[in-house]
Symmetry: C2
Subunit: 764 residues, 2 copies
Amino acid sequence: MNQDYIQPDAWSIIEEGFDKDRVKSSESLFSLGNGAMGQRANFEEHYSGPTFQGNYIAGVYYPDKTRVGWWKNGYPEYFAKVLNAPDWTGIDVEINGERLDLAACAEVRAFRRELHMKEGWYHRSFEAVLQNGTEVRVEARRFLSLDSDELGVIKYEVTPLNREAVIVFSPYVDAGITNEDANWDEKFWEPIETRHSSREAFVVARTYKTHFKVAAFMHNTLFRDAEEVCAEPVRTQVREDKVCLSYEIAAGRGERVTLQKLGGYTVSTNHEGDKLVAAAQEVVEAAVKKGYDALLQAQKKAWAEIWEMADITIEGDVKAQQGIRFNIFQLNQTYLGKDARLNIGPKGFTGEKYGGSTYWDTEAYCLPFYMATKNQQVARNLLAYRYHQLDKAIENAEKLGFTGGAALYPMVTMNGEECHNEWEITFEEIHRNGAIAYAIYNYTRYTGDDSYIPEKGLEVLIGIARFWKQRATYSTAKNKYVILGVTGPNEYENNVNNNWYTNYMASWCLEYAAAQVYRVKEQSAPDYTRVAEKTGVNDAEVLQWKETAGAMYFPYSETHGVNLQQDGFLDKELVKVCDLDSSQRPLNQKWSWDRILRSPYIKQADVLQGFYFFEDHFTREELERHFDFYEPFTVHESSLSPCVHSIQAALLDRMEQAYAFYLRTSRLDLDDYNREVAEGCHITSMAGTWMSIVEGFGGMRVKDNTLYFTPKIPAQWKSYSFKINFRGQVLKIHVKASGTEFTLEGDTPLEVVVNGNRTKIMPG
Amino acid sequence: MNQDYIQPDAWSIIEEGFDKDRVKSSESLFSLGNGAMGQRANFEEHYSGPTFQGNYIAGVYYPDKTRVGWWKNGYPEYFAKVLNAPDWTGIDVEINGERLDLAACAEVRAFRRELHMKEGWYHRSFEAVLQNGTEVRVEARRFLSLDSDELGVIKYEVTPLNREAVIVFSPYVDAGITNEDANWDEKFWEPIETRHSSREAFVVARTYKTHFKVAAFMHNTLFRDAEEVCAEPVRTQVREDKVCLSYEIAAGRGERVTLQKLGGYTVSTNHEGDKLVAAAQEVVEAAVKKGYDALLQAQKKAWAEIWEMADITIEGDVKAQQGIRFNIFQLNQTYLGKDARLNIGPKGFTGEKYGGSTYWDTEAYCLPFYMATKNQQVARNLLAYRYHQLDKAIENAEKLGFTGGAALYPMVTMNGEECHNEWEITFEEIHRNGAIAYAIYNYTRYTGDDSYIPEKGLEVLIGIARFWKQRATYSTAKNKYVILGVTGPNEYENNVNNNWYTNYMASWCLEYAAAQVYRVKEQSAPDYTRVAEKTGVNDAEVLQWKETAGAMYFPYSETHGVNLQQDGFLDKELVKVCDLDSSQRPLNQKWSWDRILRSPYIKQADVLQGFYFFEDHFTREELERHFDFYEPFTVHESSLSPCVHSIQAALLDRMEQAYAFYLRTSRLDLDDYNREVAEGCHITSMAGTWMSIVEGFGGMRVKDNTLYFTPKIPAQWKSYSFKINFRGQVLKIHVKASGTEFTLEGDTPLEVVVNGNRTKIMPG
């Protein structure tokens, strides 16, 4: 844990007191998103202290030039990167001639932020003493509408406390923004046009190269106390990429004046490019017609609907409760599953770190959450995203010398292109390909949807199988297929030979793809014919896959009775993490890379990730032996690490350990375990937090079209509950120390297996 | 071979005919240097075609900001880089109002370059037809004085051929230059002052950060035919970083007009910073007093003295003869051993690629050449260079987590700081440390100088031994010390475990350092006391070194009877280079990095490099077995590869193969085998060429203070000869098919062993 300033609360994230050193952290934690757009919790008014400004539009990216030390053949020349979008949230505030700036005030009192997760809004309030002696109280509430996802709303209120004040609000829309993370100081946005009237402004800009066109807009209303006053600008500043309208209003001592700013984006991905301003005007008109109160009510209702299905309650442990809700809230802010073109960026709308928006995290971690808390189409959309990028995955593999339709999905992507360029990751962390095949299996297992594979999935599986077939090479010395030069899930090893997880996943992919080819051929002949024609797959090729899978080499230690993470793992100095001085942690900030690489320390589950995916393939004793062997060397310096370990610790009845891992995963960002929350939140691992309750404590599994549960409860909790959508039926599970209650919605009974006993659950 | 345009000639490098595509290549090949400064063969007059402008001053560098993909802990923040220096060679030429520019002429005829290696000058001549119809003949001769190493001389002659012409010569000195290889478009040179008179100009500039101060200067004289004419500028252009003086002279048809330009640098490393202009004036005055002819005579004489000792003659094979002389010439242009602060950059003064000026190449490849062709002090200076950087090597090791005086010399350096930042090289290519210890051993063996180790070398050996002691870790599984995560000499493998060469070198270093500690303790007690006080070395520590060395693990294949390049080498697909389609070569331009890494292909001698250094430790049969195992997988894509293989092939009596490797190493740049000569020549590997004659064909070795020879001769040659300086005696070896003649200078007989027979050679 690296920080402890967030107030415990079941439904809200609360910060009290102003601390400049926490601003960037809170900008991440209090971020807002509605699936289509999002933003860091930057102050509306000017702030001259350290801040990281960020507004993001889902799916809008830019092909930045690659920066590397020494160029390696096969690197992408350009890659898609998350792009800072025009800012519609800014409101400069001048009070009695002085610009309001919390970094420059004489005093800041009663500063408070609240992210109200239940209702989906963010509120900030403070009292400021200006250098000119004026004391004011400020309250600002902001939300991004779930109903109208091009719209955001800000209510910004100022009350002079010790004297009357002339207040100038200068709301603006600005496309002249920069990226923190830009490689070459290139300009990303080309200004196209601006329009404005006394209350509205529009700035249209287009991304260079990718030519996404965006109209950023605002609409302003002024109030004195509750009464609307005429909003005629005293000053209008227009640049080619910015419009700022200044409104002046006098307020008596104790009198509240309010600027209500509506804003947002219309984007050429959803509208014709020449009608963006008109579309924005429609959004504004509808919103104005509804009015602030109705918009806020609708927001509360929309979030209530999400929570109705997605909420997890924890009784008796407010920090644990706050943690899981923060995770569920951020996931829903990032991706709602409405748009198959989108995916789940590792930082969501909370930062721009990492080039693209899609990692193997989506398949390995996020899919189960969306499968269980949304309808089936959402999960299918996530799979289809990769299907649509299959051609680019084949191109990517060709760049690396693979042929004949072999597909290597990129490590990081926005549009199918690779967005990463370190050879040891880009070229070698190839296990990601396996997660994409596994997700197809996992989806089919959970949903029972047998149509996805014949319609789309089979082509993906064939491309992936072809990659593994070619990537595995035959070792005469071992008389087996080996996979040389890889980076496994544990990124604290590079260029190793025979990473057990990778070899196991490759072998499984080959077998699974073969089985699906046979199944589709038998059960969906027209689909098979279409796919066979398109891909050229045939029985002889499939036999080769099976031959390679069957003769795969897996490193194993007779001495320890464990599958070895990779060849040579036992040559390391096997000093456990608990015997390491804590001043050496986190390793990636304290040790040089070579030292990390030759150490036994594991960044995140690697062999154990394989045991998580393929739990059924191993006995409990085998899991225990591997957990006891590997966990003591694991430093959990990846956000994706604690959840898997929490699930496995729970399975092994190690509830204290499972609980500790649960806290770590659920409060990773709130408590900033990895000392990097200022750069944004770890969105994808938040789905792991959900899994560690549902699959870990709840012990939920799906086998043979049936739900299994082995409910357990940490000693710290009185009870917990979660809901899942299983094939159209909604089941609520409420676990107490005394036992587990199941509540089934609808009117069909559901047979489940609880602690090994088959039980029929009746509706109601 | 990638080009074949250099005319075969025993003493000169000659290009005939103008080809824009060859300009950058020839700029490298025709480079000049005098150990203190150097320059690419850029045209004096303006050239608008593709060119790579380069002037360099030995020891003048700049700390450029590091550029990497993803930062790794331990990378240097800044590193010293080779700096393009102010240009004193430029002469703009205007003929009848048109600027002379070979890229823009109507026609270029009779273009010819000659680098006269015997006498140390470069000459260029051509006839140009200008767009305005004027035809001129131009001859330009240039040399960098060996006697006065701050001075360069250019004689630039123009003769109108078809009409009279008004010619304006505009010689300039310009510090407003840029680096091709700059990382951040930073400015490197801060202009300080300019001074000029009608014939002279001085531009003083200082490097940012490192604050090297340089006065670049010129002095101009005009001639009509042989007669000096008044040089009063018609135009003087002065910028803060450039002075250009324009002289106008009319020439009748067939009348030759000449601008003689003296120029060069005075540098704050050799003069007080505020007296650079005065120092430059002295250089000019002395040169003017001597006059052009005397300067040229002195140049010829100085080079004659170098050749007297360093020349190798080859009868019957002009390309082989040209190759070896080009190599010897370039080595002497780069480093003359006069200044212990300098070293041998891999590109010398021919390019700016690679960050710094010192690689392990110096110790592994260059030392033998300088030991044998210069006096002993030159080689000792090369060792002392590392001694003076020991503190920085200890700092460097500390950054990577080593303690207690362990030293890791940088991969690349100018001032002791690391200049490379790819983790797999910077942190892992640690075998370089071994070469530095080996050079101390090699120097002592060859020169018999027993004083270097007690005076300086011992401290270096202790630092290096401490590094290896810590870097080797104990493997319980193997019950041996292992060295994990390294890159060996074969840079087509990264992060491998137990690279045989590295382990062998480490073990040898530990043993050798231990032996030297004991020897100094016994034989030079005061030195031992001083060093022990300074370093804290003691007997217990030395025993640990020996224990580690004795228990080192070496990968070995029983099946093949060879030491394995690294753990797991035999798991690769062992397809020989001869079975690889030639369209796949060079691998580093055709294959992605992961594919190279998992292939068996070897960039340069790796296990065989160990067999080269430690030839005595192995039988001829062992060498043969290892050569036959590894050479077929070797692609020789490093300039350092062919020479070692040539030497070993000769030792194994495979003269055709040895000859082929010899041609490849000696004509690597002339024939551009690696398709990169445009970036500069491969200077350090040129010493390998020398070795492949002296140690390869000549079979020269030193054992027990005695010279051994096993002379052989390629079938293509009638005879060859070389000279060596052995402990103050100069021995000439002349090898013919019919036998070998030895000629000894001086008056003391020398006992040598020829083909196993001990012989006394009498002087004369």
